[in-house]
Amino acid sequence: MSENRLARSSTPGVSSLQRTISKKFLLPSYIIISFLFLFSERSDFRAIRFLKALINDGITYSIYIVNTPIKLISDMSSSAKQYFNFNIVLENKKLKDEIEQLNSEKRELQFFKNENDNLKRVLGIKNKDDYVSVYAKIIHEDTNEFAKNLILTIGSNEGVQLGQAIVRNNVYLGKISEVNLFSSKAMIITDLNSRIPVVIPSRGVNAILKGSGLGGAQLLFLPQNAVLENNDQIYTSGSDGIIKEGLYVGKIITDNKKDIKKRKYSVDLGFKEHQLNYVSVLKVKK
């Protein structure tokens, strides 16, 4: 009996609204509202865009609050794992060795950088635009059959603009696809809609990297005679004029077929999806 009573009642918070409007009018009115929203996608009115940005901001930050306890629980499990990591001494030693090696590589790189700057000065080559990075927290990550998005905590208030690159430790992750007032959406490199110009410097080859939609990416428009090998590194070429050149994207994986024409290439991206917390948005320095 009580189940029937519950079945007749409605969702909390909206039941009072439903009571006031006749049920017969609800369905057509929601369909009409949905279509109005859809038609507004085509319009370019500033007021509508502002309203949408406001709605998006509101939803984004409320979802952030709702998700906080879930994130806390999932973070707790990973920190518990770390706490019970008994190989910590060995890991520490390994990391120290790695730091030493990286430091020596850094010194070497500094030498090459200075040499490069000197050569540029001699040849009269001007430096390209400088970029500044703005730190942003990822408050939501969403994937469906049509799109892959990250929602960031900064928007037009921090000067974020469409097309700007998002990176993590100098690894290219994607670009800004929608800007709201206090939040923005970034399209990940694996999104079906993502296309970026890339270069493989070790082979002198340019290509376009397209997202596959299933967590990977593929190279398009490779020259016919291009021969790539395993672990060839891919960087952004910057030829679109928006994304900074030289950002690491990933490395090549081949099936090692002897017949070069039949060889297939895939890309091992430089980051792992669903493991990102913070990113940087690259803006051109004015």
Partner: protein, 161 residues
């Protein structure tokens, strides 16, 4: 006390559905399978509207659809239309069947899912510039159909026994 527990049980469906909609990637892509290959939200709507048509109200589905669109960057209103359409299809197909067995239910789900995905493709191609791949969509439909009996059994055990 009993009625309180029943209330929690009743609204737990709303909570689970909302959490799945706002955490699509966390629940599905990292735990079950890589990539956007299964549509648990459609399975939930169909199941509850097929067996208890009053559980998810239209207002609730409309609002969750808007939230989902905002988070996923879809054209505003698309998911609301899909959710409402699916719920109406489920309750209509249930009404038309005089005998409800699993076979009929599965066929009804397949028909509804297909119609809803076709509608979403039509909306996407007319109101948005987001490209999509038919292969991905087909995988999504097939995997959702494969998983339907499993999820439906779990829901039936929890809510109807």
């Amino acid at each position: 006390m009993n009625s309180f527990l029943e209330k929690i049980k009743f609204y737990s469906a709303h909570i689970i559905f909302t959490l799945i909609c706002i955490n699509d990637s966390i629940f599905i892509n990292t735990w079950i399978a890589p990539g956007p290959i299964i549509n648990i939200k459609y399975i939930l709507i169909f199941y509850f509207c097929f067996f208890e048509k009053d559980r998810f109200s239209i207002t609730f589905l409309f609002l969750i659809g808007l939230i989902f669109d905002s988070l996923q960057g879809m054209p505003f209103g698309m998911t609301s239309i899909c959710f409402i359409l699916l719920s109406k299809l489920a309750s209509y197909l249930k009404k038309r069947r005089t005998q409800t067995n699993f076979q009929n239910e599965f066929v009804a789900f397949a028909i509804s899912l297909l119609i809803v995905q076709i509608i979403s493709v039509i909306i996407l191609s007319n109101f948005s510039q987001i490209p999509f791949e038919y292969l991905l969509l087909a995988i999504n439909i097939i995997v959702s159909l494969i998983f339907y009996p499993v999820i439906r059994t779990l829901l039936k055990v929890f809510y109807h026994y």
